[in-house]
C-alpha cells in the first residue's frame, strides 16, 4: 500500500502460510492494515474503514510530512491452485483513490470496474459481505446481527 492512512511510503507486507500475528502499540497502524485489505476488496462504505468520506483513507500528513494526493492498495494473491477464475499464477487487485474523489480498480494491471473485482473475489467467498475480515470490535456483530444478515454471510461463502 502507498498513501493509505498511516502508510505514506510504499509498504509491502508478505503474509506466509499459517498464522501471522500482527503486534504493536496502540495507534501504530495495525488496524489500518486490516482497513487496507477490506478497502482493496471493494468496500463501499467509508464507515467500514472508520472514515466519514472515502478520501479519509488518504494519508493526511504528520509532523514534517505533507499529506499525500492519493491512496493505493494492491493485493497480490497466489493463484497456483487456480482458486480464482483468472488465468495467471498470481492475481493482483489494485484500488486507488485521489483527493478529488476519482478512483480506479485494476486487475493484473488492467483497468476494470469494481464489479469485475467483486465477481472474481466472490468465487472464493471473498465478497462484499467481507465475512473473512473481522474488524476491531466487530467480532460480536455476528451474534447481535439479524438472522437474515447471517444468511447473507453464508450465501456469500457458498
Amino acid at each position: 500500500m502507498k498513501g493509505f492512512k498511516s502508510f505514506p511510503d510504499r509498504t509491502a507486507l508478505e503474509f506466509a502460510p499459517g498464522v501471522s500475528v500482527v503486534v504493536g502499540p496502540n495507534g501504530s497502524g495495525k488496524s489500518n492494515v486490516t482497513d487496507a485489505v477490506l478497502w482493496a476488496m471493494g468496500e463501499q462504505s467509508p464507515l467500514a474503514v472508520r472514515g466519514q468520506s472515502m478520501q479519509d483513507v488518504i494519508f493526511a500528513g504528520g509532523h514534517g510530512r505533507q499529506a499525500a494526493r492519493s491512496a493505493e492498495v494492491e493485493l497480490v494473491f497466489d493463484n497456483a491452485d487456480g482458486g480464482l477464475p483468472v488465468p495467471s499464477a498470481e492475481v493482483s487487485v489494485l484500488r486507488r483513490l485521489d483527493r478529488n474523489g476519482e478512483g480506479e480498480y485494476r486487475l493484473n494491471g488492467a483497468r476494470c470496474r469494481m464489479s469485475d473485482i467483486l465477481e472474481i473475489l466472490s468465487d472464493s467467498g471473498l465478497g462484499k459481505e467481507g465475512h473473512s475480515v473481522v474488524g476491531q470490535g466487530r467480532v460480536e456483530a455476528i451474534v447481535t446481527s439479524k438472522p437474515r444478515d447471517r444468511r447473507l454471510l453464508i450465501e456469500e461463502a457458498a
Partner: protein
C-alpha cells in the same frame, strides 16, 4: 465452484454443533433456518414458536423490503454449560465472542476462504477461552492463512510469523516481520 446455500448451510450447521460443543465444553449449540413470513410465521427445520415471535417485530419491515417473498435467516442457539438456552443478547461478552468464533469457523470448515483477518477478536476472552481459540488456530493453520492482530502474549506464541508495527514521531507506520522458529518465539514473547 459454487455450492448452493442449502449445501453450505447444512455443512456449516454440522460443524457449528461440533465447534460449539468444543468451545463450550459441557454445553452446545446449533444453527437453525428461520423464515420471516408476515402472515404465516412459518419456521423451517425446527420448533417454531420462540423464533417466530422474535421475527414478528421485523415482519412489517420485511413486507416493504421484499414484497411477498419469504426471507430466510439463520438463527444461532447457544447453551453454555449448566445454563438453560436463553436469548443470545443476554450472553456475556466472552460468550458472545466464542459464539461468533464458532460461527466463523463453522462457515470456514463448510467453505474455506483463502485468508482470514481477525483484528483483536479475542479481547473479551478469559484465559480458558483464549486457549480454546488458540487451539482452533493451531488446528486449522494449514488450511488457510490466518492474520491475527493482537495485544496478547499468548496469541503471539501461536504465530508462525510475527509482524511488528510501529509509528515514529511523524505519524508514519513501519512494519518489521520475522518468520519464527520455536526458539525465536520464546524470545519474542518474553
Amino acid at each position: 465452484i459454487r455450492e448452493t446455500f442449502e449445501e453450505t448451510f447444512e455443512a456449516a450447521s454440522k460443524h457449528f454443533e461440533e465447534l460449539s460443543a468444543q468451545l463450550f465444553p459441557g454445553g452446545g449449540g446449533r444453527l437453525r433456518l428461520v423464515t420471516e413470513v408476515p402472515a404465516t410465521q412459518a419456521v423451517l427445520g425446527g420448533e417454531g414458536e420462540a423464533s417466530a415471535e422474535v421475527e414478528s417485530a421485523d415482519a412489517d419491515e420485511f413486507d416493504e423490503l421484499t414484497g411477498d417473498e419469504p426471507q430466510f435467516g439463520v438463527e444461532i442457539e447457544i447453551t453454555p454449560a449448566g445454563k438453560t438456552m436463553k436469548r443470545l443478547s443476554l450472553l456475556s461478552g466472552g460468550e458472545k465472542s466464542m459464539t461468533a468464533i464458532a460461527f466463523l469457523f463453522a462457515v470456514f470448515l463448510a467453505k474455506p476462504c483463502p485468508f482470514y483477518i481477525l483484528d483483536e477478536v479475542e479481547a473479551a476472552l478469559d484465559d480458558l477461552n483464549l486457549g480454546r481459540f488458540l487451539d482452533l488456530l493451531r488446528t486449522y493453520r494449514d488450511r488457510a492463512q490466518f492474520i491475527v492482530v493482537t495485544h496478547q502474549r499468548r496469541t503471539m506464541e501461536a504465530a508462525d510469523a510475527l509482524y511488528g508495527v510501529t509509528m515514529a514521531g511523524d505519524g508514519v507506520s513501519k512494519v518489521v516481520s520475522r518468520r519464527l522458529g520455536p526458539e525465536e518465539l520464546e524470545e519474542a514473547a518474553a
